[in-house]
């Protein structure tokens, strides 16, 4: 049956005072007024809330919402050797910023960045929780380095991400997603991405592995991505509108995560129209084994809108299921 998932991030604060407790806790922690343990406790309570919101909205495969992540790049860089974290850089076209990792030596995985939160989220979800890691191609593309060849950087980051994936699957993660938004901006570098994903996939064990490319389309390299050693391919069908045509023409044998609900805009999507478009792909892609999702992480939306988008994902998936 057509299932539901999210891409990863979720707004960690909302507009109600109670929904801003993590913001306050981080502020007080930075001022030295609360301990790290106190901060962790608040983080956990928000992870719980975020997982519960997803499950209540009908998301079958939730994530921990990346509630503890400062951003998608530095969260990993802080757990790697050979990388330091520097100033703010704009994150794609999102008008948000990440702290840029700077490669200072041989990049090596040191310790898990995501395992604790994944384990905690799993303990409350009542079903599988998808672990999400930033992919080696994107880490290498957005990091700063002095002259190291990109291929070498991708390889080193791939070994590091492989370490994280190994730790996740050893901790019991059955669903792991590798995010590679940077490939939508440089499809000509798919060869480098391939090397990175192959290295990471080598450590997935028996876990289901999804590669997700958002913030644009991968229409020109769909075949290359589908041929990778992955169990699921995640596509942004909003900002990557050209993916629709590519899918209709070439189809896909690999099950997909179909990012159809617009995670970059507050406008309410029409689930009937989305379901119709998805059902038009029937016969071309394995809809029964695929997931419906937002087009990218939901943290770019206000919390109340993110909640609405979760419900729209569930509604669209139900309509697809009914039409199959």
């Amino acid at each position: 049956m057509t299932s539901t998932t999210v891409v990863g991030s979720y707004p960690r604060i909302g507009d109600a005072p109670e929904e801003q407790r993590l913001r306050r806790a981080i502020g007080r922690f930075d001022e030295g007024k609360v301990s790290e343990a106190d901060l962790r406790e608040v983080e956990r309570s928000v992870v719980r809330e975020v997982v519960e919101e997803q499950v209540a909205a009908g998301i079958a495969l939730p994530t921990d919402g990346q509630v503890t992540w400062s951003d998608s790049q530095s969260h990993f860089a802080r757990h790697l050797d050979g990388v330091e974290v520097d100033g703010l850089v704009r994150y794609f076209d999102t008008n948000t910023y990440y702290r840029q990792p700077v490669v200072k030596g041989k990049v090596r995985w040191r310790e898990p960045a995501t395992v604790d939160e994944w384990r905690y989220a799993s303990s409350i979800a009542g079903g599988p929780v998808k672990a999400v890691v930033t992919g080696p191609f994107t880490l290498a593309t957005l990091a700063k380095s002095d002259g190291t060849a990109k291929r070498e950087l991708v390889r080193d980051f791939a070994s590091a991400v492989a370490g994280e994936v190994r730790a996740l699957q050893q901790a019991g993660a059955t669903h792991i997603q590798v995010d590679e938004p940077a490939i939508t901006r440089a499809p000509e570098e798919v060869g480098l991405l391939k090397e990175g994903v192959e290295r990471v996939a080598g450590e997935k064990g028996r876990a289901w592995l999804c590669l997700f490319a958002y913030f644009g389309d991968v229409a020109g390299i769909l075949g290359d991505l589908a041929a990778l050693p992955i169990d699921n391919l995640g596509l942004d069908l909003v900002q990557g509108e050209r993916n629709w045509k590519a899918l209709a023409e070439a189809g896909s044998e690999v099950p997909l995560t179909l990012g159809v609900v617009d995670a970059r805009n507050t406008r309410r999507d029409d689930p009937k129209a989305l379901a119709r478009s998805l059902l038009a792909l029937k016969g071309e892609v394995p809809l029964e084994e695929s997931h419906v999702s937002p087009s990218n992480g939901l943290e770019f939306l206000p919390r109340e809108k993110a909640r609405e988008k979760l419900r729209l994902v569930a509604e669209a998936a139900k309509l697809v299921e009914a039409g199959l």
């Binding site: 913001r23 703010l88 948000t96 702290r99 805009n265 943290e299 809108k305």
Partner: protein
């Protein structure tokens, strides 16, 4: 006239104003109670700029919060969203376009007129550009990004005309989102052109945080008289490119890193100005910080501006420039 000094737009809000704005946002302080504090802070910043000898002034935007939502709050067809994350533990609200954009009354003219009345030096009118307004808004109404950008351009054009009628000799239209999508640079040119069409005032656009490689070929195509660029934070990388492909308009050249607490030394800033002078003629070269200074403390911002002015004076004296 050469090496005129100016600022990009925003200055930090003094603690008494920051506190009052927090109370105001909770509904514990009225508009009428807030306004005198905004005026006091504006007066202080105008006086400071005059005291240190800046040539072209700004009002410091003490009455504005976010540069996009300030305009959204004053337009019909526009609402303001709930909080979204900017980075780390920083959050902001975004415009939400819910209907046809219309400007029921002028937005910035009252403040501009009042602040210009405090000084005999020229004060820039400050607008957030149409492409940036579009890119930073949620759109629940218009059919495309282009349609929304052009709708913003129309209301901003009306605002620019009103500023000009009120006497503004320079109007700056900030486009920090300019370099966001390389495939939309033609839209930036078109939308900015719709704002500046028919204006006699000197027009300026400011941008920052960019992938300037893609943007560079567009600098000469931007329909403004002056471009204002963040140069220090990008390591003055662009200078060589300007040597090969000359800019055919004025440049305001950022010599102060606004993201660092560290106060530049006069020697550092002098060196940056000297390097700029290798490429640009002194009459077309303006000296300013990389970007708005609102994220620094009042003390840091003032110290940085003092260094900027002192360094500019030293360069002018050494070269015998007027």
């Amino acid at each position: 006239m050469s090496l005129l000094t100016t600022s990009v737009g925003s200055f930090p809000k003094p603690p008494y104003l920051a506190k009052a704005r927090a109370l105001h946002s909770k509904g514990e302080l009225t508009d009428a109670d807030l306004r005198p504090l905004e005026e006091r802070a504006t007066r202080e910043w105008i006086a400071f700029q005059e005291e240190i000898g800046i040539d072209i002034l700004v009002d410091g935007e003490q009455y504005r919060g976010d540069m996009a939502t300030y305009f959204a709050e004053n337009l019909d067809g526009c609402e303001v969203s709930g909080l979204v994350r900017s980075y780390g533990n920083r959050y902001y609200k975004k415009p939400v376009v819910v209907g046809e954009l219309e400007r029921p009354r002028s937005i910035t003219v009252d403040w501009w007129t009042w602040a210009q009345g405090l000084t005999g030096k020229p004060l820039k009118g400050m607008l957030t550009g149409p492409y940036t307004m579009m890119d930073w808004s949620f759109d629940e109404h218009y059919a495309s990004r282009e349609a929304l950008a052009m709708a913003f351009a129309e209301v901003l054009h009306q605002e620019a005309k009103d500023l000009e009628r009120a006497g503004a000799e320079m109007i700056q239209i900030d486009e920090p989102a300019l370099s966001t999508r390389a495939d939309e640079l033609d839209l930036v040119v078109k939308a900015l052109g719709a704002v500046t069409r028919g204006l006699d005032a000197k027009t300026i656009t400011h941008t920052c945080y960019g992938n300037y490689d893609a943007v560079f070929p567009y600098f000469n195509r931007l329909p403004v008289d002056q471009i204002d660029l963040e140069m220090s934070n990008s390591g003055l990388d662009l200078l060589e490119r300007f040597r090969r492909e000359p800019l055919k308009k004025e440049i305001a050249f950022g010599v102060i890193d606004v993201h660092s607490h560290v106060i530049e030394t006069e020697a550092q800033v002098r060196e940056r100005i000297e390097r700029a002078l290798e490429i640009f003629a002194p009459e077309t070269l303006y000296i300013d910080p990389d970007c708005g200074l609102k994220t620094r403390t009042v003390e840091e911002a003032q110290a940085k501006l003092r260094v900027m002015v002192a360094a500019t004076r030293a360069v002018k004296a050494a070269r015998g420039l007027e």
